[in-house]
């Protein structure tokens, strides 16, 4: 499964951190610097494993912690409708 940004979401960068607004649910979300990096890495549809390896290359972080933190971020973003899942072509 590929992860991609919901095209309906309005996003803007404020002091290096991304702010999101979902016009369908009227929910605002302020991402921290790591969340903003994940959002920027998802500019093109990306598989979760690829996303995690990209993050591991950027941050000196334990592989298990990186996976669990990324999975929890992604599941919350999916729940809030900020990200979508799609089948690879």
């Amino acid at each position: 499964m590929l992860l991609n940004r919901n095209p309906e979401i309005c996003a803007a960068e404020l002091d290096g951190e991304v702010c999101l607004f979902n016009p369908q649910s009227a929910v605002y979300l302020n991402l921290n610097s790591t969340g903003s990096n994940i959002w920027n890495l998802l500019e093109a549809p990306t598989a979760l494993d690829k996303l995690i390896s990209n993050l591991q290359a950027r941050y000196a972080v334990d592989a298990d912690i990186c996976r669990s933190e990324t999975e929890s971020f992604v599941s919350e973003a999916l729940e809030k409708g900020m990200l979508l899942q799609s089948q690879p072509a």
């Binding site: 309005c10 404020l14 607004f21 016009p23 302020n30």
Partner: protein, 143 residues
């Protein structure tokens, strides 16, 4: 220069506008966000739009702009940037005056990020309610 409104009509107009603002503030507390956004987008009150001559429309636009400026300076509890912008949008729509409701995120000096709404004239870019401070906010959407 003659004032836009004279006493006591200025005071009465301000009180009525404050009531509208406060009523909308209460609606914002009660209505779910998606429903509120839908209403702000669809603007059902436009069916009651007044047919004014351009001169009358300009005259009333200045009056409503004055009300919004004054309300923004004086408002306290029971009024938010969204309720004031929403009230302004309703009045401008009734007068047939073009307006844009903007939503964004503003950042306070202590680092807090807070959602912000403001109303703007799409033709001149003039702000009817205070917008984002330069460098301390990011616009997200408009409708």
């Amino acid at each position: 220069m003659t004032p836009l409104l004279r006493w006591p009509s200025r005071l009465i107009a301000y009180c009525l506008f404050s009531l509208l603002d406060h009523g909308i503030w209460m609606l914002i507390q009660l209505l779910p966000g998606p429903k509120l956004l839908k209403v702000a987008r669809q603007r059902p009150w436009q069916t009651w739009q007044l047919r004014l001559t351009p001169a009358r429309q300009r005259h009333w636009r200045h009056r409503v702009a004055w009300l919004l400026r004054t309300r923004c300076r004086r408002a306290g509890w029971g009024s938010t940037c969204l309720s004031r912008s929403f009230s302004g949008r309703m009045l401008f729509d009734l007068l047939g005056v073009a307006n844009e409701l903007h939503l964004g995120m503003s950042k306070f000096s202590d680092g807090r990020k807070v959602p912000h709404a403001w109303l703007r004239d799409p033709e001149t870019g003039r702000l009817y309610t205070p917008g984002l401070s330069p460098g301390a906010g990011a616009p997200l959407t408009q409708f």
